[in-house]
């Protein structure tokens, strides 16, 4: 039986890129549904995604990436999808690699597959400082949970229905990518990282600017540390 996959695209003011992201998801063929979660954008994100034929969940207030992605999980759960893939709305994730993530997920019976920028040398230009930051977060994960993930902040991931069910119920809101890995560890999920190339953002600016990255690091590590003690 053909698996049904919800490709969740959290989008906040991504009118320049959302259309092409949706089209690229639709190009993957049958079984892949583009689920755009419009996080109260003030631009045309909603109407463009809607016109392109995506299923669009229009949030009335801004929830941030964690809350938006979680809404996608809720939708997938209620509509009986076999897996979810998270793809950023800015177009930097290689959508053509989605089938590869899912193949790994199903064939190796995993709960989470992360599309990583670091396993193989790719053309992705990532700043030195950010590389160090991600390295520290990964080291933290390794020490406290034993999980070996190089690209701990990658938002390009596939999860199975079991993980979607638990994340729909309980998902970190502040720094969901690294924090959700701590949750995953607590749930006993099987995680694997696979290489993917990513392109630099086409439009707009990343939510993490270099100036803020130091402060961001401290906040992320603190949030992750607290997560270690959280009841799940």
């Amino acid at each position: 039986m053909k698996k049904r996959v919800a490709v969740i695209v959290p989008a906040y003011n991504e009118e320049n890129t959302i259309g092409s992201v949706v089209r690229r998801i639709q190009a993957l063929g049958e079984g892949y549904d583009a689920i755009v979660v419009n996080d109260d954008s003030s631009d045309l994100t909603f109407s463009i995604a809607h016109q392109e034929g995506a299923t669009v969940i229009d949030l009335p207030c801004n929830l941030g990436i964690g809350g938006a992605v979680q809404t996608g999980f809720l939708y997938a759960l209620r509509n009986g999808y076999d897996a979810c893939v998270q793809v950023d709305g800015d177009g930097q994730h290689p959508t053509e690699k989605i089938p590869y993530l899912l193949k790994t997920l199903f064939e190796e019976d995993l709960d989470i597959v992360i599309g990583s920028r670091f396993i193989e040398k790719t053309g992705y230009d990532i700043s030195f400082m950010r590389r160090i930051g991600i390295g520290i977060i990964s080291l933290f994960l390794k020490i406290f949970t034993g999980i070996s993930v190089k690209d701990s902040t990658s938002g390009f991931r596939a999860i199975n229905a079991r993980a979607a069910r638990l994340f729909a119920n309980n998902y970190p809101q502040d720094y969901p990518e690294p924090e959700s890995l701590i949750f995953a560890h607590k749930y006993g999920f099987k995680i694997k990282e696979v290489p993917t190339e990513m392109t630099n953002r086409l439009h707009g600016i990343s939510s993490i600017t270099p100036v803020k990255s130091g402060y961001y690091m401290i906040k992320v590590l603190l949030a992750m540390f607290i997560d270690l003690f959280k009841k799940v």
Partner: protein, 121 residues
Amino acid sequence: MLRMQIFVGLISLAFFILTFEFIRKKILREEYAILWLLTSLFIAILSLWPQMVPLISKITGFYYITALLLVVTIFLIALLMHFSIVISKIKDVNKELIQRHGLLELRIRQMEQKTALLKEN
């Protein structure tokens, strides 16, 4: 002494009336109002029975105004902590409502599309 008692009594009365008015106008929920009513009651007792202060000093060993300030500060910190917890809870509930709202709107849109298609055929 008497003048101070009247002054403190007036404060407690004003506090009580204010709290009562807030409950009546539904600005304040009863569950929080109890705290403020008790506070006004405490101030009222203080005005009617000022000997309570030296008594408390004797029992607790707080003889200085700074010590009293500390007690008040602890009370306020505890109150702020309580409010933080309440805000966190409200934020959680709010998040869930926003999510469900989005999902419901989507369902309505899908149903409208379906009925529009049925009408056409």
